[in-house]
Amino acid sequence: MDILFFGITKDIVGAAQIQLLEEKGKPTTVASLKSFLCQKYPEMAKLSSLAVAVNSAYAQEDTPINNNDEVAIIPPVSGG
């Protein structure tokens, strides 16, 4: 599963994209992905907010994520 990072999350992770390999404990919902990331990258837990887009649309906490979804991490937006 590929995960895209933007803005400050790209800086925190040090990459625009990472791949989560198949393994036990791989997150299967938005909520579990977020807690997985915040544990792995403690700086991510300090952000004002953290949203996740699944297939380029905002997802809910309980939205499932599958291997072929395009998953993106959305830190606080600041366009305009």
Binding site: L4, G7, A53, A72, P75, S78, G79
Partner: protein, 138 residues
């Protein structure tokens, strides 16, 4: 009904009028966001924008459709720039045209307010000695 949604390198405010003018429109309202030189009295060298373009265009389309459903509009434009922008340069332009002026004013305000809240675009403020992702931290 013309709907122009795009992520661009450079915004040219003069060209959006051709897109917004319409025989049934008596009014065109346009908002342009530009780079300010100071944030909390700190001098800004420039801003740098990045986006998740595929999603940004989808979110812009949602905003445009919501505006079209809410007000009687003829044309709608939403454009956002990416890359580095210097002081006074335009970074975003939104506009709407309608038969009468209240609709295009209200729609234009809605377009920019909603864009700022939902469209996946990120802004880094570049100061002389540091740079900061805007709104990232509480």
């Amino acid at each position: 009904m013309i709907k122009i949604l795009s992520i661009v390198d450079t915004i040219d405010p003069g060209t959006v009028y051709a897109a917004l003018a319409h025989p049934k429109s008596g009014g065109i309202c346009v908002f342009v966001g530009t780079v300010r030189e100071f944030t909390d009295e700190q001098q800004v060298v420039g801003l740098e924008f990045e986006t998740y373009e595929k999603m940004a265009l989808k979110e812009m389309d949602k905003i445009a459709e919501e505006a079209i459903a809410k007000w009687q509009l003829n044309n709608v434009v939403i454009q956002h720039a990416v890359g580095k922008k210097g002081v006074m340069e335009p970074v975003v332009i939104v506009g709407a045209s309608s038969a009468h002026r209240p609709e295009c004013f209200e729609a234009c305000r809605f377009l920019i307010d909603t864009l700022k809240a939902t469209v996946p675009i990120w802004k880094k403020e570049m100061f002389k000695d540091k740079s900061v992702w805007v709104s990232a931290h509480p």
